[in-house]
Symmetry: C2
Subunit: 333 residues, 2 copies
């Protein structure tokens, strides 16, 4: 295992210390229990937006804490759900009386712990709602999931709900928006290589010299098929095809499109995949209204990519364009 | 070789097509000869800023084209200098009568081709000046260089000179600033793994399972020493020590610090290195006034990182904070 780390057991914590130092103007890291929160939380009158999940997917979630996106994020150990007490503390910290929305990726442990935290908070008089993201078209149930896994659409939901809360939407309206984003968003991913969880010290899975895994999960869970490596054009066509057919996205739709790197893929390859994706969408008269190309929801140093499409009406595009100031996504401020 | 590509000979071109589609609001790609240019070039009255070099280091340089940074960038094939006709065409395209500054990394081929292009442009009546970046403290001469290689400080020079030109500094003043940035900036890098140039099809070099290369060049050129893998803290101390001792940076200095990923390193590890770096600097009473942590000057999918420190007086910090809108660096717009 070759990594830029100190103690393999403390990588997630050591990372947070660096994040806090580098972005002291945006966020702070609280301890016992651990969560990352906007420096200016709670923001008076604003609905709080909280997400979280296992570490190892950076910049998601802790790198999306800041004005216009998340008020707080709860990082678990690498690929491990955060505990209810982390989520409870974060929810309490961002509550300004207008209620708090939890954005939860659909993994059994995450769902359970966010629900437990929500009950604790509600008992304290904090109004909490949850939006569960389950956008991965690759597999129906999986290693860690009943139903579809939550992947790329989570990034878009965090941006859009964050913008809505910043504008002063009330809790019910932010929740409705979040549900709509999940309903309209679909994703699929693929991997060229495995990643290595530091505490495990060896690759999560093995892929042959000329193999790829289509439909990979963000923790290296098996996908749809292990197959010979395809050229980027064909690979993109298969992934986009599965995503488009699922909603389905239709001629005349406008979308926010994300080509996301898994952590170890150069930007050059991601833009090349983006080109292929936009050609396919143009051919179907689906208009890409906004796009995001880069590393947003990763799996440590895994090589590979995922594609996310979100059918977006004008309100979503307008929210998309609102300013955002986080370590991982930043514009207009 | 496992990459998300089509034809290994056309990766750099295919990438540009995707970049142009995804960022049509910021830049366009011109063909025959190839260069990337701000959509609104030439900007009346403004000094033009042009850079370039081999592809494979993205987002540098083409991903730094846009308001507040580069007016144009000339991408060569992967790890290959751009040709004089590319540089000449880009220079002509951004010239608005106020002259053009070339920012050139110190590699023999780049220097030669930028000089040739500058002569051609001057013969056409365009005033051209050049700033050569030679900030890598690892080795004195190298495989492709007489004198020190140009690495991370290039990113900072492009941001700062870009901001200065946007403010209306004249050519001589932007050039003076660029030289000062080079004089005050120092870098060093290291690698955990090699990268694979698509057209070559195999890794540029081999590193053992427990080895790292200290002082690596951005094309995989040999560094100072191949050595057993160190914990991140010790590794950072060695790199930072070499960088700090070279200028030298002293107690009371304020710096812009960059921890840069080589392309295949997770953000988590880069922030962990940043934490180590800031502890070292605090111990020496060197103040980090601004910082940048992420992938800015990469070597395809190489795993590893580099550290850059720039001694910055208040004018540089103020220029740093100016708005920038490029695919690779974006704030305030």
């Amino acid at each position: 295992m070759k990594k830029l780390i100190n103690d393999p057991q403390n990588v997630a914590q050591d990372f947070l210390a660096g994040l806090a130092l580098a972005h002291a103007d945006i966020l702070k890291v609280c301890q016992e229990p651990v969560y990352v929160v906007r420096s200016d939380a709670p923001v008076p009158g604003k609905v709080g937006i909280v997400s979280g999940g296992g570490s190892g997917h950076e910049p998601m979630h802790v790198g999306f804490v800041g004005k216009g996106m998340l008020d707080a994020a709860c990082p678990g150990q690498i690929f491990t759900s955060p505990t209810p007490d982390q989520i409870e503390a974060a929810t309490r910290a961002v509550n300004a009386g207008a209620g708090v929305l939890h954005i939860v990726k659909n993994y059994t442990g995450d769902i359970m712990n966010f629900e437990m935290a929500a009950e604790l908070c509600q008992a304290e008089g904090i109004e909490v709602r949850a939006v569960v993201i389950s956008d991965d078209v690759a597999v129906e149930d999986s290693l860690y999931t009943a139903g579809r896994r939550g992947v790329g659409t989570t990034v878009l939901a965090e941006k859009l709900c964050g913008a809505a809360a910043e504008r002063g939407y009330d809790l019910a309206r932010v929740e409705t928006l979040g549900r709509k984003v999940n309903r309209n968003g679909r994703s699929m991913g693929m991997a060229l290589t495995s990643c290595t969880v530091p505490a495990a010290g060896k690759p999560t899975f093995e892929l042959g010299e000329h193999e790829m895994e289509m439909g990979i999960g963000i923790h290296g869970e098996p996908g749809r098929a292990r197959m010979p490596l395809l050229p980027a054009g064909e690979m993109t066509a298969r992934m986009a095809g599965a995503v488009i057919a699922d909603l389905p996205f239709r001629s005349g739709d406008q979308v926010i499109a994300m080509v996301n790197g898994m952590g170890g893929t150069p930007l050059m390859e991601l833009y090349l995949v983006y080109w292929e994706l936009e050609q396919i969408l143009r051919g179907l008269r689906i208009r890409v209204a906004r796009q995001l190309v880069g590393n947003y929801i990763t799996s440590l140093e895994m090589a590979g990519c995922s594609i996310t499409l979100l059918k977006a009406e004008d309100e979503m595009l307008s929210l998309w364009d609102d300013p955002v100031l986080t370590p991982g996504l930043r514009w207009g401020i």
